[in-house]
């Protein structure tokens, strides 16, 4: 493991604290307390807490995990925030994580995984799961441009990034469902979109959380090579679910990835790593 610098002095952050925002948090809590860690799902750009409320929250609660999903500011039912930055989103995640009764597992999807990577430096998560992570940088931009030029070029000029149906879902997902989900997509802040490409990378995680990376080799937003790179950052290999689109939590076979995540957590990776 490389030795990374820990930042103690954060004068700018102290001097200019993030503006508070009303945040939507959806929850599914098991009927009986089972001493399992709470999960906090962080949706990617354009998505809200609704994306996890569809299947994953209920399923996780059914397996005994208290499950929460938040909408980053400007998304879903949270307060509009056109000027939001990656720092604002990170603030939203650490705020909700610290409000949970116990030390949480952070699960980030898409660009939400980048937000989670930032949050890991500011909150000692019990573990982290990066689902089809968009960790940013120019390679991400290249892929987006190649796969979806019509949706990507306007985003360069400040418009919202638009993803089309074949990128997000497999053909197995019924037409009506896909249309319903697409209609709910919003957009991330202009500055946050740019920071995804140009912003400073995440600082080292605090508290040595174990990290799981998973995705689909057929994801047309995050290529398999990006998944492998992301997993390498955290010294592991990605779990792959072929035949699924980028939105693993909404696609027809949503059950397989969430079960894999919960199985991993049931093995208590934190104590194994410690």
């Amino acid at each position: 493991m490389t030795v990374e610098r820990v930042r103690v002095v954060r004068s700018w952050e102290w001097a200019r604290p993030e503006r508070p925002a009303r945040r939507e948090v959806l929850a599914a809590v098991p009927e009986r307390e089972e001493a399992k860690p709470p999960l906090l799902f962080v949706p990617g750009f354009g998505h809200g807490a609704w994306a996890f409320a569809e299947h994953w929250l209920g399923h996780a609660a059914g397996r005994g995990f208290p499950a929460y999903a938040l909408s980053l500011r400007g998304h879903g039912g949270s307060e509009p925030a056109p000027e939001a930055t990656l720092r604002s989103y990170t603030h939203d995640v650490t705020q909700v994580a610290a409000s949970l009764p116990r030390q949480a597992v952070l699960v980030g999807h898409g660009a939400g995984a980048r937000v989670v990577a930032h949050a890991l430096a500011r909150y000692p998560a019990r573990a982290a799961v990066l689902v089809a992570p968009v960790l940013g940088g120019w390679a991400t931009f290249g892929t987006a441009l190649r796969r979806n030029p019509v949706g990507t070029v306007p985003a360069v000029f400040g418009a919202g990034l638009r993803l089309h149906r074949r990128q997000l879902f497999s053909r197995e997902l019924p037409d009506a469902d896909a249309r319903r989900h697409l209609a709910r997509l919003g957009r991330a802040g202009r500055r946050a979109q740019w920071q995804l490409l140009t912003g400073r990378g995440p600082e080292p995680a605090v508290g040595r959380p174990p990290v799981l990376v998973l995705g689909s080799p057929d994801d047309r937003v995050v290529p398999a090579s990006a998944l492998i790179r992301a997993a390498q950052r955290y010294a592991s290999a990605p779990l792959l679910f072929p035949g699924m689109g980028h939105d693993l939590m909404l696609d027809a076979r949503w059950r397989e990835p969430i079960d894999a995540i919960l199985d991993w957590l049931d093995k208590d990776p934190a104590s194994a790593a410690g």
């Binding site: 004068s11 700018w12 604290p17 603030h91």
Partner: protein
Amino acid sequence: MSSSTDPGHPDPDSTVASSRAERPVSDRGDTVCVIGAGASGLTAVKNLREAGFGVDCYERETGVGGAWNWRHDRSPVYASTHLISSRPFTQFPDFPMPDDWPDYPHHSQLLSYFERYADHFDLRQHVWFGTEVVRVEPVEGDRWDVTTRSTGGYGPERTSRYAAVVLANGHNWSPKLPRYEGLEQFRGEVMHASSYKDPAQLRGKRVLVVGAGNTGCDIAVEAAQQASHCWHSTRRGYWYAPKYVLGRPADQVNDTLLALRVPLRVRQWLYHWTLRLTVGDLTRFGMPEPDHRVYETHPIANSQLVYYVGHGEVTPVPDVARFDDRAVELTDGRRIDPELVVFATGYLPRFEFLKGQVLGDEDGSGRPRLWLNAFTAGYPTLAVVGLVQPDSGIFPISHWQSVLFARLLTLRATRPERAAAFERKVRAGLGERYSAKVKDSTRHWFEVGHADYLRALQRALHELEGVK
């Protein structure tokens, strides 16, 4: 990881407890002992646990939160206690306070914050409540024998051996009372600010408040609202900073200047200029002119004191010279006749369970000689956490001190040469200061500037880790 060496042995008889040879010692292996479950103790437990250490924390009270838990008999908080530094400076860096809280939360919110911190990281299972530490003694191999008993002295003493000790017993619980001639004859009521809990104690009385710390100023303001008259006695002139300037919490404005690396002289000039724009020249109220520049004593953040002085509700007076049976004589010869005297004269840190020499305090002056206010020479497995009087929040400092100590303990096993280099730094840096030149007093010897201090701590952390 830890085991008792002699589980079948009966509890030691208190009469032989003082002779080490006959006292059974339970060996706790690699476990670290943390003394106190206040803010600093809790963050030490959390960070040591995070680094993989077993922890036994002893707390004399029955709850967490230390000084911030108003239920504790040694808690100095009073009904209106609010934070002096704003939220971003006060919260633990990895556990933010809710962003819908006010800029300066109330002490009850602070307590709920610490209780949530303890529950969130599951810390209570490591805390032995209602247990006080009687003795902490170094033994061979850089290990420690810690003797405890039930709070109040009931029951037998128990001694356990630990790999390391963190002292987080706080420094705001042992009142410092100055001596005055004739104080015993004074017929009025006399109390230390530690017994001040509620403004009802002041209602309708003629009150003299002694001391211009943040507590003294708070009490003077409450006396202005409740008492029939309030005198406020200060030894010297101070800078009374408002809690808000330029529409923002004042410490956030100050750190904007720090982030821009504005030099101290310029910051002092800007500060004086801002004060001139807001409260103006205080000598016109009969307050003495400050004998020091701003940033040279512990900052006093109180927007209301000057307001009440301007309304005639607080009469500023100089230091007390002597008491007689019904009056107080001031150093300028004036005599006043208060019914109640509140001494807001501060607290002294105390480590009565430890030989003074361990902390480099041979002459018993109560001033340990430490590096980074935390590390002592010759005892690499001992750290003091939270013994700082910052111009800002204390909890982030306690957090990073305990992170540094946890890394040091880890490296002692894995990279002993780095730990040895750290020990050399401790020896070389004993007594180092981390602030602009400050006035010398029992209050100011552990005063630190938060930016200077945390920068020094960050450097120590990077050197220990071997990052350039």
